[in-house]
Amino acid sequence: MRRHTRSRVRKRTRFLLSSIPLLLFVVLGAVGPMIGAYHPEDVSVHDRLVPPLGRMADGSVAWFGTDSLGRPLLPQVIEGARLSLTVAISTVCLASLVGLVAGLVAGYFGGVADMIIMRLVDVQLAFPALVIAMSIAAVLRPSIITVIAAISISMWASFSRVVRANVLRIREEVFVEAARATGCPNLRILRAHVTPFVISPLLVVASTALGVAIMSEASLSFLGLGVPRPAASWGSIVSGGRSYLVNGWWISTIPGIVMMACVFSAAIFGDSLRDLLDPTSK
């Protein structure tokens, strides 16, 4: 008993500690732009390509250097954090919701609905996720909504598969049968009995997907298919820095490092969440 409690406490502390880095990024994205705002129109020829920690014309320090138009990189990176996390969290929520509903319907009701939904999932999984996101983002007008839609569509299929697998398992449980026997309507069974058991696995997949969503958004922006400039996305900043690799290496390097840290935070958050929700892990 004591060992069980010790393990729970350990997992809970590990979870709380692991969520700190990600939380820091969220706070950065939420509050950062208010402190160090990004003014894309503030172009300054004098301050072109100032290296990190160098001084700009007005005397202030450019902590992350400036880009080819003389705009300091730090506010852009912070704005990028806000954009990436907004897109990633929205995407994961949307894809989880769609995947949850699709998986519940397919798993619980079976039959034609199951067949249709699973064929859709199969077709979706026949393409690399990035290719789907790219195609959708390219055909619609570029905007943040387009990016969220594109990445969500490329993601929902794997969510629905996980949900469906769990629903199939829960459906056969005695308490579900009992609920049906007492005349409980299907919708209520789904809401009150099935869904609670499906949420945990879904949360685990969703938290892993957060990191993937951040990288997908950056990849789309890098390819020019994401949120259009002058909105600062890490991917588009890195892409813009490609022409200045020799005398402006920081433009491509620094956003990448920040992005890596963010995805890493999301990854350890996801791992600790999975350990927390998994009764078999120590």
């Binding site: 026949a126 790219m134 195609s135 619609l140 690799l245 990854a267």
Partner: protein, 305 residues
């Protein structure tokens, strides 16, 4: 067993057919008129209308779809709206480059991750293990395009060791392959390690040790071979990621493959070629999944159909 393969092949064709439909309708939902884009600004209306009629864009969508299906089954994928040459040509021309890159990257990733994963399991919970796990977690967080650009920065610009774009020799292949491999490496190390750890806990391993087999012997003869099962499964699952990674890598290194072709033609709204590329991606993917499934039944003798 044969029946299983036949069934899987049929399922594959069904999925490809639905994929074809999906692609067709996706590109028809687009705002923007390809005829106008091709004709250019200020073109006379009659010219644009004639172009539209030539490409069958004035017919109802269903009619266009029927026409498209008939053409596809004849092997005719239409002409590129830009070069007016058959759309399939650039795709076929560039496909071998993508395959080369993808398989080289896959080979490199497996060659590095497999021993690393086994090593990590062998020395579980030691410094080496923790280092390998941390490294793989870090690798999972590195975006492919950034890795590529950093590789160019260091190896092409700073140290002038390797070329940064194009293809044409082994030298050109090195950097893109490493980048493609890095995308896959982290995940593979993790899975190999976790699977090898699972194997180590099993009874037959204990038997092998009690028979007097050395640790290396056990590792090589038993654990490594059984971990191969999950490596194949994971590689199969990660093929999508591999191909997505290939698209990014090809763009970064201007590698003449179908990934960079996709990016280019999406920007040009060249429907015919985009459809071709997407179909080829789906086909490649489907074939790889099929091969993975079949390979799996060979490697794991417990699976029999």
């Amino acid at each position: 067993m044969f029946a299983y393969i036949i069934r899987r092949i049929l399922a594959m064709f069904l999925v490809l057919f639905v994929a074809l439909t999906f692609i067709f309708f996706l590109l028809r939902v687009v705002p923007g008129d390809p005829a106008e884009m091709q004709a250019g600004l200020g073109a006379p209306k009659e010219y644009v209308d004639a172009l539209r009629e030539k490409w069958g864009l004035d017919k109802p969508v269903i009619a266009q779809y029927g026409l498209y299906l008939r053409q596809v089954f004849r092997g005719d994928f239409g002409n590129s709206t830009y070069t007016n040459l058959p759309a399939i040509e650039p795709v076929l021309e560039r496909l071998p480059h993508t395959l080369l890159l993808a398989f080289a990257g896959l080979g490199l990733a497996v060659a590095i991750s497999y021993p690393l994963g086994i090593l990590a399991a062998m020395y579980a919970n030691t410094l080496l293990d923790r280092a390998i796990v941390a490294f793989s977690l870090l690798g999972r967080s590195m975006p492919g395009f950034w890795t590529g650009i950093m590789a160019i920065l260091l190896f092409s610009r700073r140290w002038r060791l390797l070329p940064s774009y194009g293809s044409g020799g082994l030298k050109h292949l090195v950097l893109p392959t490493c980048v493609v491999a890095s995308v896959l490496l982290a995940v593979l190390v993790r899975i190999t390690r976790s699977d090898a750890l699972d194997e180590l806990g099993k009874d037959y391993v204990r038997t092998a040790y009690s028979k007097g087999l050395s640790q290396t012997g056990v590792m090589i003869h038993h654990v490594a071979r059984n971990s191969l099962i999950s490596v194949i499964t994971v590689v199969g699952l990660q093929l999508g990621r591999l191909m997505g990674g290939a698209v990014i890598t090809e763009t970064v290194f201007s590698w003449p493959g179908i990934g960079s072709l996709l990016v280019q033609t999406l920007g040009q709204r060249d429907y015919a070629v985009v459809q071709c590329v997407l179909l080829v991606f789906a086909g490649l993917f489907a074939v790889c999944n099929l091969v993975t499934d079949v390979l799996y039944t060979f490697v794991n003798p417990r699976i029999r159909f």
